[in-house]
């Protein structure tokens, strides 16, 4: 079976700044100028108050693992060569959640609520994905 190319994000006009920043290894999040809420994923207007006065701010890049899974078998064709790989929902310090991959880790040592930090993985010339790796915890050296 021929492995298809990795699926690329289909960016919108209003998410373009997020992907442009990721290419430069920066995690930018939208923030509402009116209600001050952080927003992920990028929206055309604030999902909390409806304002269209949205700006971009650099995020801390730190968060915790809300949940995770290690893909072992029956992956989508484009990811079949990557197993085992880790898919996780990350809760960022800013209070938003995002799906990502956890990289640079021993999957057997992962757990819910574990602290992680952002790292970037290049997909192609246009897209770089924000991924995460475990933060070394006291008493749990890597």
């Amino acid at each position: 079976m021929i492995t298809p190319p990795k699926p690329r994000p289909e960016a919108s006009a209003w998410s373009r700044p997020f992907w442009n920043a990721a290419r430069e290894h920066q995690l930018l999040l939208q923030r509402c100028d009116d209600c001050r809420q952080w927003i992920f994923y990028p929206r055309i207007a604030c999902p909390h108050c409806g304002s269209d006065a949205l700006g971009w701010q650099q995020a801390s890049g730190r968060g915790t693992i809300y949940s995770y899974t290690v893909v072992m078998n029956n992956a989508p064709s484009a990811f079949a060569a990557d197993v085992p790989y880790v898919v996780a929902v990350i809760r960022l310090e800013e209070g938003v959640q995002m799906l990502s991959n956890i990289v640079d880790c021993d999957p057997a040592t992962l757990g819910c609520d574990q602290p992680v930090e952002v790292v970037f993985r290049r997909l192609d010339d246009e897209y770089t994905l924000p991924c995460f790796r475990p933060l070394a915890a006291i008493g749990a050296p890597r």
């Binding site: 289909e10 998410s15 078998n73 064709s77």
Partner: protein
């Protein structure tokens, strides 16, 4: 009393076996199911004034044929004023019944035929199925690029649920065993041989902690039901299945945006449905809970109030949900044992809920069943839809 409680009813059901049937075309399954439902209700074909097909996934061309009235013409229905598709993925059955009931209650329709058919067992390849379900309903921008697919979707909820409640792999596997016990009694189910917890726990790991036998498989299948007014229903059949209450909650599109992967919207949807129905969870005789993966069956069972949080796994493990148990659950075998047929996963459960209340469930009949609850959810569990049905109006 809620103004819509018991004003419409399911009067006929039709279904063909779920499985791999390369010779049975999708339209043949649809027509057989529709004709069975019409005969079951005893309505004249002329009486049907609304045809409501739902979405078909295996073929865009065929899906469009249903959306543009192929069923009306093939069945020869002269009195149809509207052919309109209702589709929300796995929750299509509940959303369709809600819309059908509303059309009946407002007098906009008198007799509605709902039909589902799909050919995911023999109409697509196994890898094609995985690839279809690595993108269908999953955000192309925010999740597909990270390798999200339905195994990871289910595994993410399972990991967090185990973390928060202490639910065990044995309990998750017991859901599969319970559903299999029912499927053994269902001639329309694909998997009918006995299953043990050890077999489930020794099956191939897909995405931790989710194993192969905790995952649904895709098959061919078709089903149909007829909805009419309560008054007309009492003329037609001995035991109308009244639509007593409905509730729903849409909680996300992108899976990572779900605020609570251990609860979803079931509690609010259940409260709404039970309040409208005028009964409580303790009154439920049979629970047809959406089960594409065991985690969703446990979560919905608990969030509806059928038991407390963290308690459902023990009920499945001890056999309380098995045939003869106190809490008969997903009595057609569900997607885990009967088989997943796309949007029809919950159509099967809706038909089974009606079948149990009609007293037509054969070897798996729950004796004296008066009230049933059915749940459904679409996409990456973007919604929680709950229907309460009954043979009497409280």
């Amino acid at each position: 009393m809620h103004r819509n409680r018991g004003r419409s009813a399911i009067v006929g059901i039709g279904e063909v076996p779920t499985g791999r049937f390369p010779e049975r075309t999708a339209i043949e399954g649809a027509l057989q199911a529709a004709r069975l439902a019409i005969a079951d209700a005893g309505v004249r074909r002329e009486e049907i004034d609304y045809v409501m097909p739902t979405g078909t996934l295996f073929s865009f061309q065929f899906g469009n044929e249903l959306a543009t009235a192929r069923l009306v013409e093939e069945l020869g229905l002269p009195g149809v004023g509207s052919n309109c598709q209702v589709f929300s993925g796995g929750s299509s059955s509940t959303n369709a019944l809600r819309i059908a009931a509303a059309l009946i209650e407002t007098g906009r329709a008198r007799c509605i035929l709902f039909v589902h058919t799909d050919k995911l067992g023999t109409g697509v390849s196994a890898q094609g199925g995985i690839d279809l379900f690595s993108t269908a309903g999953i955000s192309a921008e925010w999740e597909v690029p990270f390798g999200q697919h339905y195994s990871t979707v289910a595994a993410l909820a399972t990991t967090r649920f185990k973390h928060e409640t202490g639910c065990t792999d044995e309990e998750l596997s017991a859901v599969c065993v319970s559903n299999r016990k029912w499927a053994e009694l269902n001639p329309h189910a694909f998997f009918r041989t006995p299953l043990t917890i050890a077999e489930v726990m020794n099956s191939k790991m897909l995405s931790t902690p989710l194993r192969a036998k905790q995952s649904n498989m895709l098959f061919d299948g078709s089903g149909a039901f007829l909805v009419t007014s309560a008054e007309r229903a009492r003329d037609l059949v001995a035991r109308p299945v009244y639509v007593l209450g409905e509730g729903g909650a849409v909680t996300h599109f992108v899976y990572s945006q779900e605020p609570d992967l251990t609860r979803f919207g079931w509690a609010a949807a259940g409260r709404q449905a039970f309040a409208e129905a005028g009964i409580g969870p303790a009154d439920v005789d049979v629970a047809e809970i959406y089960d594409s993966y065991p985690i969703y069956q446990l979560i919905a069972f608990e969030e509806l109030g059928l038991c407390g949080r963290g308690e459902a796994g023990g009920l499945f493990l001890r056999g309380d949900t098995w045939p003869g148990g106190r809490f008969p659950c997903t009595t057609d075998g569900g997607m885990l044992s009967k088989g997943h047929i796309g949007a029809g996963g919950s159509v099967s459960l809706m038909i089974e809920a009606a079948r149990q209340l009609m007293g037509k469930a054969g070897a798996r009949q729950v004796p004296g069943a008066r009230f049933a609850v059915e749940t459904a959810t679409g996409g990456t569990y973007f919604d929680a839809q709950v229907t309460v049905l009954g043979t009497e109006v409280p």
